[in-house]
Point group: D2
Chain length 349, copies 4
């Protein structure tokens, strides 16, 4: 299958290339970039030198649809809003990695993204692409909105426990994120000297990705749970750890928590459970997911059985972006779900 | 004044030396070490080369009391339990940096430290040494138990808001800590290759320092607040960031939060408030406290006014240990409180 | 083909597993560990959880030879000296990753490894396994001594220029190395707090791997070149950068240097050249090789044409150890050389 | 004494403030910034919050000379060339931290800085300010050009050995530098994600600071020594390690090397020697100098006695910039040389 990348010069574009260039069932025929047309991709993605002789192509929806059977869109939010309608009209299958078509309810864009969504009907055609949540919908779709990286980590952490959460309780999500999560654009706030060694709290209580969690809870009639989603930049490039604090309706035993987890994620190819009594990795840690499509999940149940702390870890550029997008792509196209994604984490690194 | 350090070969010992060797009103006359007696201190603390010709002295309470007017005790918990009674009986003033005499209620040791406290009467003589909480008690004391580093960060974050917290609510404390917080002992879990780049969740929900918070809340008749205290090791050597999630009885405005903070910490020499609209440091960050005795405090109030997120940052070896100990020492001895502690943070580093 | 790992609990063992478990032409049937027999491999290699259900087997040469057609030996130097003769006598093909059988001249062990080599005849049976240097010998061999990681980086840097070096000149090699290069054993010198942020000069002028370079130069009748090989630990886990300073007999032009490089490494699957005029990666950088089997090479020629600075970068656990070992294994066994090794570097990370 | 900073918004400006705000004999009365006039200094230097209520003043030489008795100039090269003549004409004493007036020979600017120096007569009035090299000249001066950070580390490493170097030999200097050495300006090449974990070779063989070394050697009639000065960015914010490879005329013994070092740096307040047989810090390491004005020096002598490897380490923002500038300032003004500079390194950090 011929695939392309629309907006291939960012970190997510580079990661899509890393995965797709080794995907046995696809050929990357096109990588569009506004700024880098005509340049070898390794000028922008220096690690790809010697891997591929691809050159960035013209940023043109017509060319995209002529050269590809499917397209990954990896441009920023506002650019996606401009470009995606044209791409959609060309009939090509696509996975959009921006937030532009993620939220089911167009009204949610104003409070969270400060715009009135200009294309509610286009939005309605998109399927939220988190296979562990809605695999069947993805299979039947031609347009996927890839989840936010933090939302993915948080949703997978809490997924099994929506039935057991207190209906009017609190859901506190405290995320720790590497610097690649903020993209490749330079600013005085993210130079190495300034960003190194920080624990930078931002978007406390109302990170944009919280709406993806809230929507999910609403689908389960938990609209009265108060979701508080905070993020902290820490001193690493890749990786997310989510610590989610839940209050349960009724006490659970540790065995019951395990049972829920196992049922929720039975047969999932990219979910691993970690909860050990010894060693340096008793719970999920992004260090164990580097370069892989895994989302690791673990937990601690407090003695009262009513306070459950869920922990999830993933590589924000893989399961949090490019890897999950390829997983959706595989599902959409009848390709075995883990094709091109059976990547073993690099450790230690 | 002649001061000594009992157990001066760990990171806290080194930090006490860094501060005390430049303290204008003291002379360091004695540094005891079991393992390093007779060695120059710079063999163990390589940064002190050329700063001091001190040699580790004998580990002997009699010598300690003959050589010093006051002693900082920086040995591990169980060692402190053995040594402190002998030191106390020598009559010397002391600041103990271990947890051995921190908890007011001896019964709290069993659940949190897995021992029955062997000396409840010695324990009763100690004053918990957090100047921002109980300065006057410290002034009148001769035996101080220095708080835990995480407890300090958490207590200072929530101190102003105990009156406004919901009586049966949740207090969720999510801490991020550098590797020096685990001490200098080597283990396969904390080698550079293994510990680098982690986000290592540990002691989820019931970190030992939680009891120091709970005790404080109990003193304010908030015994029904559920405290959940979790820690995460992150990729830095020094520093703590605490994110504390509070539910309030009644909604507050941002102005009211500011007013509470200003009243709570009026005139405090080592508390700074950080809450900016722009820049890379809009909230406290341990990066801004390196090497200093500051505890920085900031907050985010959610739109409903009932969810308050407090953030505090400090250097775990200074305000979280050696610096706070010297602050207590100054108070105990009628020395101006910030003497030897007006250290400007090193930035960027 | 059935392959095994003898001593599979270190970082190199983990990396061999990462590669071999995805190698299409092999099955990992055996991983021996003295300390971990009976444990799942993911207890020691936490990133392999969910990847493989392998259990560490008995440390027994007989079992090894019955279970495997080829064996990778990844134990320390002295252990290898004990174990390899027994393994060799079982007739199994092997790649030894220790230094035990690396040096051609048994007399070189005394000055560099402080022992008289106890098995000079076994030593004589081994072929030094650096495909870019002696591919044909490797193809015909059944026993390979894998080069040292620093030696690999240095040899590949200078390989093309032995003919042009001044016969009585200096070859100064200044290497920068990540912490995984020192292995997984804990010590007070390599805890995160102590090892983080260092630039730790060690083995200045006479790193053990220098003998591998000197031997190579001697083979080219350059025994009078003075080799000075120094290493510096820097703040990363994986990666080596070698900066090699050469004095040339006759001035070269930049075009001539390029010509030599291209001829030396024509068709090499794992050598890339990097020398750009702009961007953040104008010369090789270990950051661009993470997780891959590449050795990147670049240079700077000083205006006089007689001073050439060569730079090489690689991942010490891949091209510097496990990847190169698998490359040799492929060659020995008539498998296409890059099988299982077409790994794209992870970037940024 | 009233002092000011001209161009106080960069990292060096921040470090000057950290030192000068605690210097007992000065008052900081003025900090000029083109871009930040009217802002509190802590808006730009977030660590200084709560330390000083200073506001950036107008960028005006007249105001500077009216408000200060001495001025530290911390603007970039070309800006300094514009501004310094006006400042000089106001008669104020100054220490310029840019390269604008560093080189003795105006002709050296063209090859190394790509400009014809526009003010050779102003240049002639400046004294190169490295106290360990030319303390007496500094004492008698009113205009100091502060050395480059790498030049300082290299000059102090080799200073003792110019008499013993081979007249037509090689001097190879291989430096490893933290990211703060490149200043605070943002670029896509120095974002955290891109710059983290690199070993970035740059300016191989002809770093600009090499001319400062060459000039020094020329002063000692060693104009035929070939100086090759290379730099590598490594994963830390502060710090420089220089490894200098020397060939000696005649073999030396280790005792003789020690003797030379001791004689060269007798009584120097900021030079420490490090050469240990055990521990993690057997040679200088920038980790041991963080925040201090020390330059640590060590060495390894190869068995032939003719190859000497010198190692020096310092904090590039202190001894490599602001600290050395204050040291010169003290000397110029008859203040005890180490005043305000007896800063103990922060370790571990």
């Amino acid at each position: 299958m011929r695939v392309g990348i629309w907006g291939g010069s960012g970190f997510v574009g580079g990661e899509l290339l890393r995965i797709l260039l080794r995907h046995p069932d696809v050929e990357v025929t096109y990588v569009a970039s506004k700024e880098h047309e005509g340049e070898y991709i390794h000028r922008v993605h220096p690690h790809l030198r010697g891997i591929s002789g691809l050159v960035f192509g013209a940023y043109d929806a017509g060319i995209a649809s002529s050269k590809c059977d499917a397209l990954f869109v990896a441009v920023p939010f506002k650019q996606a809003l401009q470009d995606v309608p044209r791409i959609v009209s060309s009939g090509i299958r696509l996975v959009d990695l921006s937030p532009a078509y993620r939220l089911r309810n167009p009204d949610d864009y104003l409070p969270h993204y400060k715009i009135v969504h200009p294309q509610p009907t286009v939005l309605a055609d998109f399927v939220y692409g988190l296979p562990e949540v809605n695999r069947n919908e993805i299979k039947g779709s031609t347009k996927i909105a890839n989840p936010g990286c933090l939302a993915t980590a948080a949703l997978l952490a809490v997924k099994g426990f929506v039935e057991t959460m207190e209906q009017t309780g609190e859901l506190i999500i405290d995320a720790k994120v590497g610097s690649s999560g903020s993209g490749s654009k330079a600013s005085p706030l993210n130079t190495h000297a300034v960003r190194y060694g920080v624990v930078r709290a931002y978007k406390l209580g109302n990170h944009r990705h919280s709406i993806e969690i809230s929507s999910y809870l609403c689908n389960h009639h938990l609209e009265h749970v108060h979701v508080s989603f905070s993020a902290h930049g820490v001193n690493m490039v890749r990786g997310i750890l989510v610590t989610a604090y839940l209050t349960l309706k009724e006490p659970l035993s540790e065995g019951e928590v395990w049972k829920i987890l196992r049922q929720t994620f039975a047969e999932e190819p990219f979910i691993r459970f970690i909860k050990d009594r010894s060693g340096g990795f008793r719970l999920p840690d992004p260090k164990l997911t580097l370069g892989s499509n895994f989302c690791d999940i673990g937990f601690e149940l407090l003695p009262d059985g009513r306070h459950l702390i869920l922990v999830s870890a993933l590589d924000n550029l893989v399961k949090g972006a490019a890897g999950n997008a390829v997983q959706c792509f595989n599902l959409m196209n009848g390709i075995k779900e883990d094709t091109g994604l059976n990547l073993i984490p690099i450790y230690p690194a």
